[in-house]
Each structure stands twice: as structure tokens, then as C-alpha cells.
Subunit: 296 residues, 4 copies
């Protein structure tokens, strides 16, 4: 299998990541930090956010696993009480970074995002377990398999796509992935898949949303004569290209750029924007709040 | 009058600027450059663009005035023949940089764009003649007058604004300005003014168009949860916020930014984007082609 | 006095801002947040940082003043105990946002940074008290006074500048300013002034440090043929252009840009970089740690 | 062989590219454009630059091959006279885009730049002929070969590297490549190789030069506390990291970023900056002038 090893020397120390959102009030930080301090928890990273519009509070805390006298299950069980006392209801999670993140990637014909992710994984920069790549074309099968990753070809007929989507769903769900990445997958997910993968399906749209929703955004951008083109990484919802935005970026273009030039320049931004959004999602840095995200 | 002088040491050598657009064909560059060479013209800057979609050719040429044995009127008269032979029709201009550019600025209550332009003029960075500032409020009168520039207060009633616009038009047109700058002027120009000032009225819209057309774009941006906010400098047309784009830029924001934060961060981008667009316009660098611009 | 009012609608709610740095260990967050929670303190904004290299912990907390049953002096006195227990020693502060920030600005001949700051203050965007502007030239006196701010002209002779610096020091120190802004002040501060204003003197250097230290950085940049020019806002130390960096930014240039073009383009970045750095400093967002900064 | 095809729909029309530099004087543009017009040459893209400091003139012209009644050899032979008449001496070239560009890539252990280039080639975005990859380690052999490209492992001993460099030179020179890409090749080329590959050897340095020349620039950047890290694509000369700069870019970092974080974030900029510089070089867009470049 292709891979040049974790050459950047980053240490992967085991950590527990606590995230939650709840109605804001006095004493939340004290409640959570005292809970951790009482157990001897060493907080490595902590971030807080209060949304004044909705009166909602959010936090993400990274704790060194070896600083606690118990494991992740016990932490979860104990923290449940804290969460309940803060009315966090189902809006809390405790993750263990030693559980390697599972990812399934959906592609069509365009390979730049797939090449980019595979390169990052092989270089040890993105330490995730790509369980499978599924394509409605098969031209990306070879590169996928060269990286030692299974590739599934699921052709999509022009008419009724229900069967093809059912097949994709089966292939995805057997891995129970932390992220389903639509890496320029050109098919629109049916509502039931948006629902099933809610908060886990990540798309890269090749425009600076909400500009140029839908098909052929670079053509739309060229027609409007914009001076920057962009890309948007967002969670997939049933509302096309309208899900919560995780990350966006842009690149400068000018009157000399044809549509193929926009496509080429835009790809660099698509790749990077998707890679950032995916990393943040897998590190539990993204909390969804209505149609907006908090990115810690 | 306030002004710290042309401290950047830029020499303002007199130049003639030729711009035109015409159907593309073989030999245009040769025709124009031979015309100039035959007269001894020293080309200081030359730029060309061909639009493959429309088959249109554009150029901008800066010639040292002292390299030609005749003046701008003679140049114009001689170049007219060249333009006709290239079917440039009315799409050509010959400008003389020694004619100082006249500018009239329209404002409402928000002063950041006005402060910025006045500062640039006073610092000698933007060498233009601001003939007047017209506001539908009067809170920017003092700063304007401190810079030695007349300020006219034209109140806009809530209902019928025809009279107020007529007054504004009169105040603007008496200066025959090269640019009418809508520096966060919050009134929508009536079609007849869009027409009268076509290609000269420059607006700064506080969003990355075509996103968030119309009122309160920062509120719209906040609601959508975008990760960058932008500004767009464009020519005013009768179609709201849909005129040819001259320049755009963006700035990063995050979940912690409230609407007032977006407003504040966005202002820095508005100021710079407007200043760039205005400079390019006044230097005859912007050629309009349908709803798009070529910026040389 | 010139000023268009606080038009952005930002509410300036009174807050206390606690900042400190101390050796990292378990329970710091709990200690601080419990202290605040016990007093009923409503934390509006909280940020933490641990530096793994030096084992140092930093935090900044904003508390609503009206959530505490006592005033800032009592808060300071009570928090002193917490700080001592965490070995924060002299590395802690409690600020009251209702105390308007006092600023003195030093200038030379170039006005773009001064114009920018005055514009922000007049527009209500930067709510600070500019007590005085001091220039070794007098060309910026008029604009300063038009804004209702005293201007002092202190000429600097070519040879011994000790007397001039003594005069500047006297004029600055009588205001006990929170920030002394070197807004393109082209004189090098003597070590005793660097010392006296340590952590309060903010400079804008017109390069992306550590590139192009010292004189005429745009000329250096042009000679090297760089493709971006930058600006650096940093605290002044006795080591020229080597103090802790608060903020940096860059702008794209190309082969067509002459030195005056670099100067002009660079100014936009200088203005914005200085404005950001100054704001963060005045909001107590910048904690110095050795020669680096933590910017919350 | 891996490759998803030229999916961006860009048409690769055959063109001749003329570039040259010569002392500036009146009539150069006319001379060149008349030469082309007389032969019926259809200019698709034309760019000019005059350097006022050195009085030097530069141009790049793209002509449709099918618009000329003769081939590239005849064009070269005819253009030689024009070049001579303009004193362009050896500073001119006529390239044929139908000759596929040959590239050899040198690598060490870090694979991100190699993965990126191979991905672009496989996706049809960078239409070049990668003839070989040469590494002083062998961990990138598999990915290279999976793309159907030969990989040569040339170990570099700690002491005398002359023999290894001789071997590399032999492996490179047999392909007479248009570009020798040092894609994070961590060895310093000996002067004779810098000479032999002058104007063809392209390096990516992981800092915003001239900051942080030499080894471990991200460590240097972290120590200095900069707020942006960058990358520089430049021609290799005998003077370490001081060759003519083709392209640079930066990315924002903050106090929370450790050295491994800088490494990771910087890689995205390295990849993109190298890809842009390489593309421009291969398209004959980069003209070297002393230690600076003109990039058309």
C-alpha cells in the first residue's frame, strides 16, 4: 500500500474530546471544568462560544486520556449527568481520538479532490481510515486501488436512480463511517440519505455559496463576471447546496480567464477547502446550530 | 486645505491613454502599434485581451505625450481613422492624463468610504479633483469642508424622491465628473440617472455579489453562516446590484462574529475595494463589455 | 469636532476583562471559572491557550460587569488571590471596558495611517480617546486639529535627538496612554523610551518581518523581486523591528509594480494591519510571551 | 497507467509562443506585430512589460499555429532577424506548444508536492510528460510507479555526495527536460548542476523568502512568532534560496499552531505555489531579468 509515513513528526497523543451545546447561563464553564478538575483531567485545548442571538452556549474540550483515572465509557457515563444538569439533552458527545476515523468517499469522474485526499492520507498528514471509494464512473478505480483502498463502481442510470442509491447506501453503511465525503459526486442525494447521514455527509460545492447554487457554477460565475471564484464545504441537507457551511475560500480570477481556467483555478480551492472542512469535522471541531456552524 | 503632499515620490508624467474594443481579426495590434510608431510614439504600457466567447478584441495603450509631435486633439482626430478601419465605432477613447479627473461623491450617514477617499486625496495618493460631496444627511459635512471640499445637503423624504434626485443631478452635472461615486449612498438611483451617468456611476455594495443583493447584506450573510464576507465595486445600472463588476474582495469571519462585527470587518474591504475600482476607472483601465469588465 | 457617530449600532456593554499567564497544570480553568461562578459572574467570552513548548497557560475572560455584585477594584483585589495561587505573579490584569482607552499617536510626514485612525475614530468604529498627535513634521497638523485633537510639532534635528525625544516623552507621558502608536513615525526610539513604554508602544513596519528590516523596505522588496509585500504590527523593543508581532498581512504585487506602486499598495495593508493590531491591544486581546504573542 | 482524462474540456489548440527581452525603444511592438501580421499570424494572447529601472522591454506572444503559412522552424528562422534588429541577442525563444513538455522530478522523503503533481497530471489538468522521478529515499517509489512513471532511487551518503549528484545528473539529462523540479528535494545542488540546469531547475522553498532561508524554516517561523507562513517557488541558482522568484503565497497561522501545524498548513501553500510556478514556466510565461522575473 502506498504511504510515505507520518513524516511531519506530529505526536498522536490519546485524547478525549467533549463537545456540547446548551442554553447559556451563569456557571457552565465552572461546572464543566470543575467536573474535569475533580477527576484530575488535564485540559489540552478548550474553546467556548456564546451566541447572543439565540442565547446558546457551545464548548469543545480536549483532555489528555492518561490524566483521567478511568476510560472513555466511564467518562461518557459520568459526563451524561453534567450534560443533563445543563439541559444539553442530546447535544453532547464524548469522543476518543484513539478510535480511528472511518471515511467513505463518493466520486464521479473528476478526480482532483480524491487525489488530494488520498495523497494526504498516504503522506500521513490525514490519519484516517478510508474504507471505500464509490464512483458512478470507474475511471478513478485504479488510483484508489493503488492506494490499497477498495473501489466500488455503481453506475447511475439516467432515469430512476433509486436502486443505485440503495446500493450506495448499503456500501456506505456497512462501514458506519464518521464521514461520507461527496468529493465532487455529481448526484443529488435523495432526502432519505440526507436524513440517514445527517451531520456526517460532507459536500464540496464549487462556488462561494450562496452564489451560484446548482449546476455549472463556474459557467454562472463567468457569465456574471465575478473577480473571485470560491468553494464551499458544507453538510448535506435535503435543501440543495443550502446546508450548514463548514468552510469557504476563494481565489482571484480576471477577465482573461475562460471557463476552463476558472475550473482549473477553482479546483485548488475546492481541494483545500474540502480538506480543511473534513479535518475539522473528524476532529469534532464543528458544532451545528440551526443552519450555521461553530468551528472550534 | 488639508493635504500632506505627494509624499510617495511618484512622478506624474503626461501620457495619452488609448482604449478601444472591436471585433477580433488578424493585424489589429500591428495596425495600432504601427500607427503609433510612425508618429514616434513611445508606448509605456500596453495590454491586450481577446474574448474567445464573443470574438471581441480589447486594448489599452499608454503613450508618452512628449514622444508625439502633436497634441491630444490631433491624436484623437488621427486615431479616429484607425478606429473606423477596425470597426471600433464608438468604442474607443483617447484620454490625456494631464486633465485632472473630476469626481463627485454621494454619501448617506456612514462615513468610512468617504473618510478613506478624502484621506487618499489629502495624502497625495489619489490625485483627483473632488468637486463636491452630496449627502442626504449632513453628518459628514464637517469632515468634507475641513478638506476644503463643498458639501451639499439634499434631504431625501420618505415618499416621492423625484425632487431630491433632480437636485442631486443638478449638483452633479454642473461638474461634468469623470466619476460619480456612490460611497455607501443608500438610495437607489432612478433609471434616468443610471442612464445619464452610464459608465461613470460607481457603487460599492457591501457583499460579494451576486450573493446578498439588496438591503442589509451583512444581516443576510450572518443568517446564512458564511465564512467570508465581501464587497463589490460595480458600475450602476438600472438593474439593482447587477451592473458590471469592477473589483471584489473578501475578508474572513467566523462564528464569533456578530452582525456589528461583520459590519466593522466588512468596512475595511469596502474601502479598499472601492478605492481600487475608482482608481482603475479614473485611469481608464476598465472597459465594459456587456455585463462584464476587462480591467487592464 | 468631526465625527459621524456610532452608526454601526454596536452596543458597548460594560465588561471586566481578566487576562493572565501562568505555568500550566491541572485545574486552572476550574479555579478561575469557579471563582467567577461563585460571584455570579456571567462570562461573555472566554479563550484559553496552552503553549506546549514552554508549558505556559494563558487565558482571557470577559465578564458582564452587571453580573457581579461588586466593582472592578473589589474584583481586582479578590482575583489577586486567585492569581497568586496559580503563580501568575505579575502576569495578570483586570480591565474595565468603561474606562475609555487613551491613545497618543506619533507621526512623521506620511499621513495614511493617521488619516485611517482618525477616520475610524470619527466614524465611531474605534471608540478611543486620541489625546494627542505628535509629529516631527507639521504637515499633518491641520487634519489632526480638524478632528478636534491637539497636534504637537517636535522637530527632530539631524544630529543629537535626545532633547527632541525628551520633549516627546513629556508630551506622551502626561496622558498615561494605553497605547503609543508609531503611525509611520520614522525615528528609532531610544532604549529608555522602549523600556518606559514597554508593552504599550506599537509600531507598523512596512514589510512582512523578518524580511526587510530597517530602512526602505519597499525598495528592498522590489530589488528582491518578491511577489507579495506585507506589513507587520509589533510591539516596540530596543531591538529594531524585532519585537513581538501582533499582526501581519500581505498584498499581491507583480513585475509591473514600480517602487511607488509597492508603496501605494503597501499602504492599504499597513493601515489595516495597524488598525487591527491597535484594536486587539486596546481590547486586552494580546498577551506577550517572550518574543511571541498570544492574540485572543 | 492512472489517469482520469482531460475532463475539464480545455481545448489544446496548437500555438507558437514567442518571448523575448531587449533594450526598450520606440517601435518594438510595431516591429513584432507587423512581422506577425504580414505573415497572417493570429495573435491569441499578447503581453508587454517595460522595466523603467533598467530600460528593458519584454514581451510574450501566442500565435495560432494554423494561422501561419509555415512551420515553427521557418518561424524561428524568420524571427531571428527581427530579434537581431531589436538587439534581443540570445534573449528570445520561439516555442511550439505541440511539443509536450518533459519534466523530471527530484524528491526526498516528503511526498505532498509529488502527490500533488502526479494528481494534476493524472487528472489531465497539467498536460506534461513526467519522464522520471528520482529520490534519495525510496518511500515514494510505489506511488510514482502506480502512475506509470519510472522511479530511480539514488541514495545520498552523509559525506561526499559528488557521485550521487553525478548519477542524478545522468538520469536527468538523458531526458533533456524542460523542467527539473525539486519537489522538496532536501539536497543542495552543487554549482555545476545549478549551471547546467540554469533557468530550468525549479525549487519550492517552504518559507516566504527572503525570510527564513536555509534549514527548518517552519521552526524559524515559529520561533519568530509570525502570523503568516509562506512558500516560494524560484529558479535554483548557486546562491542558496536566492534565485529569481517565480511565485509566492502565504497562509494565516496563529499562536495555537505548533511547528507540526505550521508544517501541515504550509504544505497546502507549497503544493499550490509550486504547481503555479511550474505551469507558468512550462507555458513560457516566466522571463528572467537579473534576479527578478517577469511573469506574463
Amino acid at each position: 500500500m502506498i504511504g510515505s509515513g507520518g513524516e511531519d513528526g506530529a505526536v498522536s497523543e490519546r485524547r478525549y474530546v467533549i463537545t456540547f451545546g446548551c442554553p447559556d447561563r451563569t456557571g457552565i464553564v465552572a461546572r464543566v471544568s470543575s467536573f474535569l478538575a475533580d477527576a484530575g483531567g488535564w485540559i489540552v485545548e478548550a474553546a467556548y462560544h456564546t451566541d447572543p442571538d439565540t442565547g446558546w452556549f457551545f464548548t469543545r474540550q480536549e483532555v489528555r486520556a492518561d490524566s483521567l483515572p478511568f476510560g472513555v465509557d466511564e467518562l461518557r457515563s459520568r459526563f451524561a449527568e453534567v450534560a443533563t444538569s445543563l439541559s444539553a439533552e442530546s447535544n453532547w458527545r464524548v469522543e476518543d481520538t484513539s478510535e480511528r476515523r472511518r471515511v467513505v468517499i463518493l466520486v464521479s469522474k473528476e478526480g482532483h479532490c480524491l487525489y488530494d485526499i488520498l495523497g494526504r492520507v498516504a503522506a500521513g498528514e490525514l490519519d484516517v481510515d478510508v474504507r471505500a471509494v464509490i464512483g458512478n464512473h470507474d475511471n478513478l478505480a485504479d488510483i484508489t486501488r493503488a492506494h490499497g483502498i477498495p473501489f466500488h463502481h455503481v453506475p447511475f442510470p439516467a432515469g430512476d436512480k433509486a436502486e443505485a442509491f440503495a446500493e450506495v447506501r448499503k456500501l456506505v453503511d456497512e462501514h458506519d463511517p464518521h464521514a461520507v465525503v461527496l468529493a465532487r459526486f455529481m448526484q443529488i442525494l435523495p432526502p432519505e440519505l440526507c436524513q440517514a447521514w445527517s451531520g456526517r455527509a460532507i459536500n464540496i460545492h464549487h462556488s462561494f455559496l450562496p452564489s451560484f447554487i446548482g449546476a455549472r457554477p463556474y459557467h454562472q460565475a463567468h457569465r456574471r463576471g465575478v473577480k473571485l471564484v470560491g468553494a464551499t464545504c458544507h453538510y448535506v441537507t435535503a435543501d440543495l447546496d443550502a446546508g450548514p457551511i463548514i468552510e469557504q475560500d476563494v481565489i482571484r480570477v480576471d477577465h482573461g480567464d475562460t471557463v476552463p481556467d476558472l475550473v482549473r483555478k477553482g479546483r485548488d480551492i475546492e481541494k483545500i477547502t474540502l480538506a480543511r472542512g473534513l479535518r475539522w469535522h473528524l476532529e469534532s471541531r464543528v458544532l451545528v446550530h440551526g443552519n450555521r456552524t461553530v468551528v472550534f
